[in-house]
């Protein structure tokens, strides 16, 4: 029975045990991602046929080729990479706190970034550099405060979440008050930024974030085995040889880094970090929150949300955050109804 539903891959010292279902999940996700990428490159103000897209990618083709290479390609890649980053950030926080509510947007990182951005928009002149710096500083500062306040009480994840929720509530109140007192147009611009959007993202915007995220991903995957061990609980992780305090700090830094990098370019795109790990876990039927399913699900969620945002009210482009929350939330509800029916 066991040999039918699981596969064991070996190569030298390394071996991996995969449920068949999990393997199919990976294959399906890669196919979906390829399809979404192609669709994203074809779709735009003018539809380009797949043949033309391939021609543009290999370098030939004039006008439409430039559009595909310089506008659509960076946007599609940003959707995939940022979505994966958000999914990973969510998986990290849900593993550390062992709670499905542990997510950067629940514990105040997004609210802090928004406070920084609001400061840049209302007090300073609101140039894109100020927005970037303000949001990164706001998010990182918030994370530092939440982390510092949650230290010193043993290894409780719930403590970090409750403190994060408290900070989040205060920052959210502050933010809505600033929005309340601002001029209507400025307020709308601020809320639009906060919704998160990939509109107008080009190579210049994504080159540095891609580099940063590549480094973060690489570090994270060296820590993955320890992370999964830590998901058993801090105390148990320590007894199995994980240096939990240091690991937790490294993981928080990685999670905050992923979130802040995405936010700096695209604004705080809500809900993907919260939903992707949960959806990925249910689809791949992994026992806990694993990194790779979360990353793949995040990439698919953000890319499809961005496509939907472009298509829904075309030619008007909605912020992707509007769609990502609706898709992610709706999908989670659907999964839950399915489980209800089965029981």
């Amino acid at each position: 029975m066991n040999s039918v539903s699981t596969l064991v891959l070996r190569r030298g010292r390394f071996s991996a045990r995969l449920e068949r279902r999990t393997l199919w999940f990976f294959v399906a996700m890669i196919v979906v991602i390829a399809g979404l990428t192609l669709l994203g490159l074809c779709y735009g103000a003018a539809w380009a046929s797949p043949a033309r897209v391939f021609a543009a990618l290999t370098g030939s083709g004039g006008g439409p080729g430039v559009v595909i290479r310089e506008w659509r390609l960076p946007r599609v890649l940003a959707g995939l990479v940022f979505g994966a980053a958000l999914g990973l950030a969510g998986a990290i926080f849900q593993n550390i706190t062992r709670n499905p509510l542990g997510s950067p947007d629940v514990i105040g990182l997004d609210a802090g970034a928004y406070t920084g951005a609001l400061f840049a928009i209302t007090v300073l002149s609101g140039t894109s550099t100020q927005l970037t710096v303000g949001s990164v500083l706001g998010g990182v500062l918030t994370a530092a405060i939440v982390y510092a306040l949650s230290l010193g009480g043993g290894l409780s994840g719930l403590r970090l979440i409750v403190i994060g929720i408290a900070i989040n509530a205060m920052l959210t109140a502050l933010n809505s008050w600033i929005v309340l007192r601002a001029e209507l147009e400025i307020a709308i611009a601020a809320v639009g930024w906060n919704a998160g959007s990939l509109n107008g993202v080009g190579w210049d915007d994504v080159a540095i974030p891609f580099g940063v995220l590549a480094v973060l991903f690489a570090v994270l995957f060296t820590r993955a085995p320890a992370l999964h061990q830590a998901a058993l609980g801090g105390a148990l992780a320590v007894t199995t040889g994980v240096r939990w305090d240091r690991l937790r700090l490294v993981l928080v830094l990685l999670g905050v880094g992923c979130t802040a990098t995405v936010t700096a370019v695209a604004g705080p795109i809500a809900f993907i970090a919260l939903a992707a790990p949960q959806i990925g876990r249910r689809l791949a039927r992994t026992p806990g929150i694993s990194l790779l399913p979360a990353a793949l699900t995040g990439a698919v969620l953000l890319t499809s949300a961005d496509l939907a945002a472009q298509m829904l009210l075309a030619p008007e482009a909605l912020p992707v955050g509007v769609v990502s929350t609706v898709i992610g939330g709706g999908y989670l509800i659907w999964l839950l109804t399915k489980e209800v029916r089965r029981t």
């Binding site: 009480g153 509530a169 502050l174 809320v191 919704a195 912020p319 509007v322 992610g328 939330g329 839950l336």
Partner: protein
């Protein structure tokens, strides 16, 4: 803690509530001494003071008391039902539903008056929680996840409406920061009545919730009808949170923090928790309301912002001192 000790503390909390209520009626742009407040309530004293006390400050204090009690008791119930110390009444989608209804209504130009806003908020709250219950009634965890997911969907749709229609944006941004200012002028009788009855209902189911907290099997052997108690409790949470949100807009922090504070004195007993929450919630709301009137010389700070900055540090302090109390 012994029952006598708890009773004494409950008496002290009641006394505190009376004192802060009288203070909140006295403090404001036109300050009135506590003695004068009592005299005005008895129908004596200076007529202009009497008008301020009876027509403006008193209804507002009643509103703050009702909203505070509703949110705090709703918080106790939702935490008991979902067995999650992080749950607040909004976790069942009530607030997001109310906000969505307001956004849809104002997009169609329906939210022009205070009664219309109130009606929309109640409708949205009821609709959202009915949906959450239909999806997640089987297990507490599923209830929380379904509520969070539906809230996100509704918030996303609301955000889209706000960004598309500037008028909706304007209505929503004022509604979305919970406030008591001017809300006492809306027709509040029905929501206040709903809150009063639901609070009585909460006491009525509290002993059976205690039994359920021991686990479903134990609850059955103790004679509790688990399914019915769950349904009734969910209805109570919806009514409490929906009425409070309709009255004052979203003020959610009270529903999270007061149960945490009440647990320090009441332990795990749900009847005691409800009693303490019903007194401490109003105390927090009244204190925040006074703060919202005196903090800025130029005008009022919405009360939801004061509750957040009052409740946030207290919650952090409590978690650091006592740890995050599991249920």
């Amino acid at each position: 803690m012994t029952t006598t000790g708890r009773s004494a503390l409950l008496g002290a909390a009641l006394l505190g509530l009376v004192v802060i209520a009288v203070l909140s009626v006295g403090i404001g742009a036109h300050a009135i001494a506590p003695g004068e407040v009592v005299r005005a309530l008895l129908g004596e004293g200076n007529p202009s003071d009497r008008a301020v006390v009876l027509d403006i400050r008193m209804p507002r204090a009643v509103l703050a008391t009702a909203v505070g009690a509703a949110l705090a008791v709703g918080g106790v119930l939702v935490q008991a039902l979902s067995r999650n110390a992080l749950a607040e009444p909004g976790v069942l989608g009530v607030t997001a539903g109310a906000g969505f209804a307001i956004a849809v209504g104002s997009s169609f130009g329906l939210a022009a008056s205070a009664p219309a806003e109130l009606g929309l908020a109640v409708l949205g709250a009821l609709g959202a929680s009915a949906l959450v219950y239909a999806v997640g009634s089987r297990s507490p965890l599923r209830l929380v996840l379904a509520g969070t997911a539906l809230s996100a969907v509704l918030l996303g749709l609301t955000l889209g409406l706000r960004l598309l229609f500037p008028e909706t944006f304007d209505v929503y941004r004022f509604w979305s920061v919970g406030s008591l200012a001017g809300r006492e002028q809306a027709p509040t009788t029905v929501p206040l009545l709903i809150i009063g009855l639901s609070l009585l209902g909460a006491f009525a189911v509290s002993r059976q919730l205690n039994a359920i907290a021991l686990g479903e099997t134990v609850a059955h052997t103790l004679g509790a009808n688990v399914a019915r108690v769950r349904t009734v409790t969910l209805l109570l949470i919806t009514l409490l949170a929906g009425a409070a949100t309709a009255l004052a807009g979203p003020i959610l922090f009270v529903g999270l923090i007061v149960p945490h504070l009440a647990r320090r004195v009441a332990g795990a007993s749900i009847p005691w928790l409800i009693a303490f929450a019903a007194l401490l919630g109003p105390v927090l709301m009244l204190a925040a309301d006074v703060g919202s009137r005196v903090l800025l010389p130029t005008g009022e700070v919405p009360v939801a912002i004061v509750t957040a900055f009052l409740g946030g540090p207290v919650l952090i302090w409590a978690v650091r001192k006592y740890g995050a109390a599991p249920l």
